[in-house]
């Protein structure tokens, strides 16, 4: 006879009916001091980041660094190829004619900024993600339809099944359930 299978718990999932309800619930959870939690809404709710107490994203810095890298690499490449590696006089102009190098410098700056934005965003969101525990909940599937959710993870140091459940129920959640990992 096998041992009874012990479930590992991902956390608590609370369901709300409106954007306003989840907004105020987020404020309560934020003020209670939780750190490992997230909200899920079918559309972007303005200022929800503030209600959740999220810090500004580091993505702009990634984009900026990538843009600078792209532009300087492009300029360096053009400088090296046309003055050091294989200098050719073109239209009687100097080897290092910065004017001629501007379009490529600009384009590569833009290209690497865009890469930084897209892949940086994917990386920060840990995407692509092949599995997420929240989909173990049947009710959660409506997060992309008409329901609003808050999930507090069990790994949160403040997590306590009874107290956290009580907190979520007190915020006007229409349904609170435990989700398997």
């Amino acid at each position: 006879m096998s041992k009874p299978h012990k479930k590992k718990i991902y956390g608590l999932l609370a369901e709300y009916d409106s954007a306003a309800a989840v907004f105020h619930a987020c404020e309560t959870v934020r003020d209670a001091g939780y750190s490992a939690w997230d909200s899920h809404t079918p559309f972007a709710v303005h200022n929800l980041d503030k209600a959740m107490g999220l810090k500004p994203s580091v993505l702009p810095w990634i984009v900026f660094a990538m843009g600078i890298t792209g532009a300087s690499c492009a300029l360096l490449l053009q400088w090296w190829t046309s003055t050091v590696d294989y200098p050719i006089i073109i239209a009687g102009k100097p080897y290092f004619s910065w004017q001629a190098f501007v379009p490529v410098t600009f384009e590569l700056g833009v290209l690497l900024s865009a890469f930084g934005a897209v892949f940086g965003m994917l990386g920060l969101n840990r995407l692509p993600m092949w599995y997420h525990s929240l989909f173990n909940s049947e009710r959660f599937h409506r997060f992309s339809d008409d329901k609003f959710f808050i999930a507090i993870e069990a790994r949160d140091p403040k997590y306590d099944l009874e107290r956290t459940r009580k907190l979520l129920e007190g915020t006007g959640a229409t349904f609170v359930e435990e989700v398997e990992d």
């Binding site: 306003a20 239209a91 501007v102």
Partner: protein, 417 residues
Amino acid sequence: MSSHNQTVTIAPEQVNLAKGSAWRFLPIIGVVLAAGGLGGAFALKTGHEHQFWFSYLTAFYTFLAIGLGGLFFVILQHLVRAGWSIAVRRLAENAMITLPLLCLAALPIVLFGMHDLYHWTDTEAVAADVMLSAKASYLNETAFKIRIGVYFGVWTLLSVLFYSWSTNGDSDPARGAKNAARARAFAAPALFLFALSLTFAAFDFLMSLDPHWFSTMFGVYFFAGSCLSIHAFLTLMAVFLRKSGYLQGVVTDEHYHDLGKYLFGFTVFWTYIGFSQYFLIWYANIPEETMWFAYRIADDFFPLTLLLCIGRFPVPFLFLLPRAVKRNALTLSIAAIWILFMQFVDMYWLVQPVLAHHHAIETGEHHMTMHLGGLDALTYVGILGVFLAGFGWALGRKALVPVNDPRIAESIKFENF
């Protein structure tokens, strides 16, 4: 957080200037500045006719950029049925309605200043110059005056139409909705008229100062500066009005943010256009085209060209890059003041080197000398006065926002992500 209930009540004291408000003195201040500035400039004119008209044209085009920018802003927002901008649209309309007044202020250029400004009005010189003779069917006094008449007519018509549609709706919500629809329908043909008149006016007033030179991008180049000017001006006025207790809860940080994004975007646009114009001429390296840049990077004018290149692109680009700068009244108004200053530098750079170039050739010195003096300051103050008189008059005349625009609530509640 956002609400989907799109109704607001606007307190009348927030959008109407109070009886004793300092803002109500703006038209008087404007008239005084105009009289003092232009009067002083006229008094100093004798013996410096050339310098006077070049300074006058510089000042005129610096403020025309704001007026035309206002017209473009209003047409564009109607055309795309923009929601966010309605809270600041009346300020743009007030800037736009200075156009008839600015056109009047430009009449002296057309009536008395042409011979001092435009080399192609000298018929003997034209006859002796094969290139100018070839252009004479376009560049001659009669055709010039007719064209200027058309541009001024178009600008007056468009600004008065859009202004009165917007202000007539202030008293009656039903008319406000009807006029908004009417303005939207007319916006597309108006944009054509605007683009053509702005482009050809820039050709006639500015590009023909050096009649041998030509660039098809010249109109767009001026347009880019014009867009920068109006967004900078709107930002400043919104900040000042809010600081003096108006527009509370009407113009928000969200509107600052969007104006800041436009300032940032058009900074890049100006650079793109300005560089493209330079780049093609640099590549082709044809003397009649490179000449125009050659004397702008010669002698005294080289530092000015550097200031233009650095002050128009890297400075505002890097400054306006962070989100927080665009959402803060102080930092955003610093950027706006800098951009309005750079518009003057830009217009000075377009107009005045031509005069210095003439001097350098005529005196045989072959040195490009820059004279930034009293006439520049006085004409600048004078045209500023004309502009402020018109703007201040319009500001006190009606509410500070189009209170009956059907989507004013959407604009006030607008939020960026």
